[in-house]
Amino acid sequence: MSGFDNFNTDFYQSSYSVDDQNQAGYGYTNTETPYNKQYGQYDYSQPMGYPSPGMMQPQQPYTGQIFQPTQTYTPSSSQSMYSSSFDDEPPLLEELGINFDHIWQKTLTVLHPMKVADGSIMNETDLAGPMVFCLAFGATLLLSGKIQFGYVYGISAIGCLGMYCLLNLMSMTGVSFGCVSSVLGYCLLPMILLSSFGVLFSLQGMMGIILTAAIIGWCSFSASKIFISALAMDGQQLLVAYPCALLYGVFALISVF
C-alpha cells in the first residue's frame, strides 16, 4: 500500500503537463501495478514518454500508440481491398447514375416542343434532373416571397400518382412510377421561366395571363409528346396533354397568386 501512496503522490505531482496518451498509459499502468510488482525494477514515479512500451515489454512488443488505429491491427484483406480498388472505382457521377449528356439531351427535348422526340430516351429513369428543377422552381418562388416548398412537393407527388394511374390504364404497355415522375419533372423547366419572370413583373395583368397560358401549353405539350413517343400511344396526345395541363395549371396558380 505504501507503494500505492508513493505512486499516487508522484502521479499528482507530475500529471498536468502530461497529454492524453500518457495519462491513459498511467491509467493502464495503475491496473497493472499489482501484476508488475514482481518485476519491481520499473520506476513509476517519473514521467516517462511512453510507459506502455516499457510496461508491455514482458508481455508482448507493443509498437503502436493508444487511441490510434495501427496498420497491423486491421485485417490485411480489407487493407488490400481499399488500396487496390481505389484506382478501379468508377467515377463518382457514374456511380450515382447521373449522366450529364442524357440530362442535357432530355432538357433540349423539352425546350423544343416542335421537334419529334425519341422514344428510347426515357428508358433509364433519372430523378436527378427533376430534383434540380423542383428545387430551382421553389427557389424562384422564394425570390418572389412565396415560401411554398410544401405545396410544390405535395402537388407534384399527387400529380405524379394520378398520371401514373391514368397512363397505366390508358396505354397498352405499362409505365413505371420513376419514368412518369422523371418526365413530369423535366417538363417543369418552362414553369421555372414563368416564376422567374414573376419575380420581376407582376403576372396578374392581361400580359401575365397570356404568358401563363402559353407556358402551361408548352409544358403539357412537351410532356405529352414524350409520353406518346415512349409508350407508343397513337391518337391520344391531346388526351394525355389535358391532365398534364391541369397539373401544370396548379403550379402556375401557385406562381401567379
Binding site: L166, M170, G235, L238, L239, P243, L246, G249
Partner: protein, 253 residues
C-alpha cells in the same frame, strides 16, 4: 455498397407494388377498367359534342362484337371513364378557382367540395344499383357503366359554372337550363337502350321481371335527378360571387 442499397430499395418498392396490386384486384379487375380508358381524341370530342347537343345524334345503339361490347375507340355510344374522371377533377379545380376569386379559398374548402361531389356520385350509383336489383331488371349495366353515366353530368356542371363566372347570374341560369335539358335527353336515350331492351320478349315471359313501366320510371327518375344535383353542387359557387360583386360595387360607389 450503393448497389446493395439500391437493390434493397427497389425490392422493397416491388413488394409494396405487388401488395397494392393484390388488394386492388380483389375489388375490381384492372382489365375491365382498362376497357373504359381505351379512348382516343376523336371519340372524346364527339362524345363531348353529344353531351352538349344530343338532339341530332341518330343512332344510340351500343355495338357489339361477338357478345363483348366494342371499346370506346370504335363505338361512340360506349360509355367511358376518361371523360367523367377528367370532368370531376376539372370541376374541383374550377370550384377552387371560383372560391379563390371570391377570396373564400382555403385548401379545406377544396377538400370539402371534392368529398361532397364524390359522395353524391356514390349515392347516385348506389341508388341506381339498388333500384335495378329490387325491381329485378335484368340489364347488362355494370357498376362502372353506372359510374360513367353518372359522371357525365360533370361536363354540364363545368359548362354551367364557366358561364356563371363569365356572364353572371343570367348566364348561369341559361347554361343550367341548357345543360339540364341536354343531359336529360342524353340519359334517357342511352339508358333506354340498356334498361328497356326488348319489351316484346318480356311481355311474353312469365312476368318474373319487372313491368315495363317500372323501367321507364327508373330511367326518367335518373334523368330528372341530374339537374337537381347540378343546381345543388354549383349554386353556392355562383350565388356568393353575385353578392360579393354587389357589395364591392356598392362600396366603390
Amino acid at each position: 455498397m450503393a448497389n446493395a442499397a439500391m437493390m434493397y430499395g427497389s425490392s422493397l418498392a416491388n413488394q409494396g407494388k405487388d401488395m397494392v396490386n393484390k388488394e386492388i384486384s380483389r375489388f375490381m379487375s384492372v382489365n375491365k377498367l382498362k376497357y373504359f380508358f381505351a379512348v382516343d381524341t376523336r371519340y372524346v370530342l364527339k362524345k363531348l359534342m353529344i353531351l352538349m347537343f344530343p338532339y341530332t345524334h341518330q343512332d344510340w345503339e351500343v355495338r357489339y362484337h361477338r357478345d363483348t361490347p366494342l371499346p370506346p375507340r370504335q363505338d361512340v355510344n360506349a360509355p367511358d371513364l376518361y371523360i367523367p374522371t377528367m370532368a370531376f377533377i376539372t370541376y374541383i379545380l374550377l370550384a377552387g378557382m371560383a372560391l379563390g376569386i371570391q377570396k373564400r379559398f382555403s385548401p379545406e374548402v377544396l377538400g370539402l367540395c371534392a368529398s361532397t361531389a364524390l359522395v353524391w356520385v356514390v349515392i347516385e350509383v348506389l341508388v341506381m344499383l339498388l333500384s335495378l336489383y329490387l325491381l329485378t331488371v335484368h340489364s347488362d349495366l355494370s357498376t362502372f357503366d353506372l359510374i360513367a353515366y353518372s359522371g357525365y353530368k360533370y361536363v354540364g356542371m363545368i359548362f354551367t359554372v364557366l358561364c356563371g363566372l363569365l356572364f353572371g347570374s343570367d348566364g348561369y341560369f341559361v347554361a343550367l337550363a341548357w345543360s339540364s335539358c341536354a343531359l336529360m335527353f342524353f340519359i334517357v336515350r342511352s339508358l333506354k337502350m340498356k334498361i328497356l331492351p326488348s319489351l316484346s320478349s318480356d311481355s311474353m315471359g312469365t312476368g318474373s321481371s319487372a313491368k315495363p313501366q317500372f323501367r321507364l320510371y327508373i330511367t326518367v327518375a335518373t334523368a330528372v335527378f341530374q339537374p337537381i344535383i347540378i343546381y345543388w353542387l354549383t349554386s353556392h359557387l355562383i350565388r356568393s360571387s353575385e353578392s360579393s360583386c354587389l357589395t364591392t360595387g356598392a362600396k366603390a360607389e
